[in-house]
Symmetry: C2
Subunit: 190 residues, 2 copies
Amino acid sequence: MQIDILQHLRKHITLSESEALIFNKYVEKQQLKKKEYLLEESKVCKSMYFVEKGCLRMYFINKKGVEQITQFALDGWWISDYQSLINNTPSQYYIQAIEACSIVSINKENLDHLVVELPQTEKYFRRMLQKDVAGTQHRSKLLYEMSKEEFYVHFSTSFPDFMQRVPQYMIASYLGLSPEYLSELRKKKL
Amino acid sequence: MQIDILQHLRKHITLSESEALIFNKYVEKQQLKKKEYLLEESKVCKSMYFVEKGCLRMYFINKKGVEQITQFALDGWWISDYQSLINNTPSQYYIQAIEACSIVSINKENLDHLVVELPQTEKYFRRMLQKDVAGTQHRSKLLYEMSKEEFYVHFSTSFPDFMQRVPQYMIASYLGLSPEYLSELRKKKL
DNA sequence: CGGTCTCTTGACGGAGTTCAAAGCTAGTGG
DNA sequence: CCACTAGCTTTGAACTCCGTCAAGAGACCG
């Protein structure tokens, strides 16, 4: 699957050809190889990132020295460490490519200019953030009401294709359960 | 503590007196008594709500028929069920006053008009949502890395005043642990 | 084909839940 | 202003979900 960012914008706001050119002035496109990083711990997060193609993971290192995944980002999603971005503070996260990716990034300063020059983009970003909050509210509700087993079953039936795309220990980490227990659950469900 | 919404806006954007009047045209103010509702299950959430004074809780009823709190909103915070708001779908949540409250609400249509008439408010709402996402990211990180005991200690030391303000069983519900276990932890820490 | 990741298995232990009952507190009405 | 009641908090015992540890089996890559 491949999502062009301009297409994505135009699902939400109208943008003429000349406006699209202006938009392109403010964003940067880059290709990422598997395992390359967009953000590393202790660096300040300067940008928001849009995945046109591929898959990113966001994680931090916990007290035991183990990677703990908190978010994935697939085609068509924005991702950033907003705490670091807003406050200019060092991030505690890594954002890394799980697959080869096409990424569009926009940094803070350019974003500020962009929304002045193309005011309708402000609405686009507001909508993206609303969607983000809505998604988090939903996920958090599931976490509150489900056992880990139910959460796993829910996730694997909701995103069967995604399960094939990433290693199981990453799914386990994201779902907040041990790889061993995930393995046990898988056995039960086959 | 009491936060006037215009003051709050002016922390983020500039607003002349006449613009403030326009803003006031689009929002509604209301007083809530303890236990009154802003939103109930199966109704569509039409508005975003700002707490000028008081305290709200957002909760749903889980399978066992027990109230499960997912969010609190204190003075200076916006709250809404964004999934219901965006998609016009019935909400699964209740939003209820824990204390007597002063609430400012803005519905979807008025919000759309407002951001056209006062474009700088778009930036304000974008910032509020960014702050919301940042807060959720932070909270979710804590949930991943802490045991329930650590999470409780962290919460109670971070918000000692808030602990006094609401009943313990609500804190327990929000933290995702049983009232009995919370009681046990309290004993340990005294 | 050797070595490094990844996934599976089983035994064990502990954090946290559930249930039932008793002890408190605070609000309400008489 | 006191007494009653409903709601909140505490206790303790039994139980269970799920993590940890250790070891083995595949799978993938140079």
